[in-house]
Amino acid sequence: MNRKVLVVDDSSSIRKMVEFALKSKGFLVTSACDGQEGLEFLARERYDAIILDINMPRLDGFEFLKKIRADEAYASVHVVMLTTEGQEDDKKAAISLGAKDYIVKPFKPSELIAAVESLFK
């Protein structure tokens, strides 16, 4: 069964890269351009994992994470947070808010694939 992944990032070039990388491994990928749109997609469809950026317009990654972790319906969705080099607090915040893992930008496409695949092992 193909796993479904939601990518939430406001940078279209990062979205495309992540999408392409995951699709090449057989994941079904949907992209949202900010947290608000991410929530809308999440309400319509079930996802297995979410790749989540932090700084986004309208609804940022942390607020998004708080919202979905407060909702039982999304308890089983794994979240991988995209953090930026040097922002150590972000990593801690991500994990304490309920992200399963984080990847530090800049990352290689294969690193992302490895991180997402290991979610389901």
Binding site: M17, A21, E37, N55, P109
Partner: protein
Amino acid sequence: MTDKNDQEKFDAQLLAQMVEDFLEESQELLDQLNLNLTRLEDNPEDEELINEIFRNAHTIKGTASFIGLDKIKEVAHKMEDVFGAIRKKALKVNASLIDVMFEALEVLTLLKDKSRTKDPADVDISWVINNLLGILGGTLPESEERIPENKTIAEKPGQIPIPKSKIQNQAAEAAAVRKTASISETIRVPTERLDNFMNLVGEMITSQNRLSNFSDKFKNAELSIIASAIARLTSQIHTGLMSVRMVPIEKLFNKFPGVVRNLARERNKELELIINGKDTELDKTVIEQIYDPLVHLLRNAIDHGIESSEKRQEQGKSPVGQISLSAWHSQNNVIIEVADDGQGIDPARMKQVAIQKGIITEEKALAMTDDQAIRLIFLPGFSSAEKVTDISGRGVGMDVVKENVQKLRGMVDVRTKVGKGTTFHIQMPLTLAILSGPFGQGKWPDLCPAPQYG
């Protein structure tokens, strides 16, 4: 990914594609930044706007750093720092801050244009970084704690909600546009592919014409049915392809508030720019090529059309000059007008200058009507870099404007009234596509070059 080499290749390939995507994406972000900075100048306290600029810079920084475009990253990073400080209220928006931001924006645009797979070596960013650091040096001392990101106004307790202004509406609109852009079913295609396609359609029309002529000669019922079917289909493909190439002029027009603002500042003029008809569509190539002529016309209006505030008041005009930039469709043409409410062009002075410069003889000047005298502005050699008189500069680049517009198969004209203002009127065909073909095939007027004006 069993093989390590394969994996490296895969990574390199995806990252290379990402650089290309970023260069395209960053143009949109830079356009947004430009527009937002222009708005900020009128609304220096608008928190929503400040947040948005912060995010624009942050996104550029983040993605540029991701793909190793370090110069872009560094400039965007410093801009982000400045707006971070503004969000923390450690810095205040003022005219010199905005100037430095526009400088930084220009450098970013230059870097973006010159970056291919790596940083362009010949673009110096140290001066703009220094200017940005200078601004940051003026911050009130504060701890280095990270600013909480993207707090919306409503979330801050005790804060009075800002009345919904036009700017906020526009911001919401922009967000809505961005949103549809990411979910609606669109594809981006390199213009080159469309051009190739267009050339093929051009060839097809030629062949189809031959077929029609041939079938007319033969008077064969079946042949003429086939020929007219092909003619209809060709025409539909042609029209369809043209419509694919049409884009709203908005992206181009959005660049002008920033341009005009800078020029007005340089020249110490007070003016407002009014933009009409942003959603007018025209051929992408036309849009790209009309930028320079329009900048010329705007610069001209600011330099020589709009008077100083004092002079305007003496004449009973509003101290703030007005320049309008408008676009609309008229049959198969698009009209673009740049109008100012400045001092107008005086035909007598035009004649005088033209005689001085030896462009026309005195006899010829006497025989000239006012309209003809004003159009001297389009003659090569009329314009001069040296500003001997206040009118001598009036024609700077006007012959170039005319030439460029003519290259687009368009025409440019001028109407003016002394003391009231000047309007430059550009008329261009909607599409540049299919420029050459056999002459005299009345059925396909597109195949004949349009008459040249002037």
